[in-house]
């Protein structure tokens, strides 16, 4: 696989970029492989906290989200803790999307701003998150499930996007429907790429 390397850094973990697919199964395999190769398993805690300030180990060790997650995992088992992380993220993502939809009601024949905005925001966030988790920080167990599969997945929607396009056509606004679909896809892809590049360039985020 010929992955382009934007902004190589000491954090860059080339061995983690073997899988193209974002499937849960490959993620789990990747975590296991990465964990086995980790030179310092004692500090393989949560990446988002560690990435923000790896020097603050004494403070983050107090009770980081990773500690909470690790305790939950110890008590529930990895699969159930992962499911809980997805449910928690899914709850927040759905509430955020529904909230935006209520705040920006969609009138028939007009541009569906609410779905448009949550979809683009989610594409940017997920591009950044998955790249950061895969390439820039130590492998973790729950951030991907919580923020990626749960929050970003539930925040964004494909079904509403398509039914909105259909309703625009049905209402006699075929041109607007085509523009909505094309602009959503073009901007969504551009923002996903932007998120990926931000994750590779950012030193502390």
């Amino acid at each position: 696989m010929a992955g382009r390397n934007f902004g190589a850094s000491i954090y860059f973990r080339a061995e983690l970029i073997q899988s193209v697919m974002l499937t849960p199964s490959s993620d789990m395999v990747r975590s296991v492989v990465a964990g086995a190769n980790d030179p310092d398993p004692a500090s393989a805690g949560d990446s988002l906290v560690a990435g923000r300030g790896a020097v603050r180990t004494s403070r983050t060790a107090r009770m980081s989200p990773a500690t909470v997650a690790d305790r939950a995992t110890a008590r529930l088992g990895a699969a159930r803790a992962q499911a809980l992380a997805i449910l928690a993220g899914g709850t927040l993502g759905t509430l955020a999307r529904a909230g935006v939809a209520e705040g920006l009601p969609h009138r028939a024949g007009s541009w569906p701003w609410a779905t448009f905005l949550v979809n683009l925001g989610g594409a940017l966030l997920l591009g950044w998150l998955l790249t950061r988790l895969a390439e820039r920080v130590r492998p973790t167990r729950h951030w991907r499930a919580f923020l990626g599969t749960g929050f970003c997945g539930a925040l964004t929607t494909f079904s509403t996007f398509q039914i909105e396009a259909f309703e625009l056509v049905d209402d006699g606004h075929a041109g607007l429907a085509v523009a909505y679909v094309l602009v959503s896809i073009a901007a969504g892809l551009a923002l996903a790429v932007t998120g990926v590049m931000l994750a590779r360039w950012g030193r502390h985020w």
Binding site: M1, A2, G3, V20, M21, L22, T23, P24, S25, S26, A83, I86, L87, A88, G89, G90, T91, G93, T94, L95, R97, A98, A101, E102, N119, G122, A123, L125, L126, G127, L130, A145, T149, G150, C152, G153, A154, L155, T156, T157, F158, S159, T160, F161, Q162, I163, A165, F166, E167, D170, V181, S184, I185, G188, L189, L191, A192, V193, G195, V196
Partner: protein, 122 residues
């Protein structure tokens, strides 16, 4: 809208996200291809189901819970975009374009078909 409606939509959205995770894992395990078939299957089934719900005219509150809640949590736009980005990065420009075009066209088609079926059922 009352709090219980929001709670129901949020709970079903969470279950939708978990269902997406399970279906994606199931499909990817069997597919064995570079094409992100799991998300494709999830998004098309969700778009079809939402089409049926909207077409059947089930009322604002029920549609909010089942449509905005479950189907919104089940289907995803962000994973579709990031998987496309990964395909492009791996050199699969054709796969990238195919992933975008197939999902967009087929998604629209199944949403429209679902809507027509929903209308017939209503």
């Amino acid at each position: 809208m009352v709090a219980v409606t929001w709670a129901a939509a949020a709970a079903l959205g969470a279950l939708g996200a978990l269902a997406r995770f399970r279906v994606t894992a199931l499909v990817s395990a069997r597919a064995g291809t570079d094409f992100p078939l799991g998300t494709f299957v999830v998004n098309l089934t969700g778009a079809f189901a939402l089409g049926v719900l909207v077409g059947a005219d089930i009322g604002h509150r029920t549609l909010f819970i089942l449509g905005t809640g479950f189907m919104g949590g089940y289907t995803t736009f962000s994973t579709w975009m990031v998987e496309s980005e990964r395909l492009g990065e791996a050199g699969g420009i054709v796969l990238l374009a195919a992933n975008l075009a197939l999902s967009a066209l087929a998604g629209f088609g199944v949403a429209a078909a679902g809507w027509a079926i929903g209308q017939a059922l209503a």
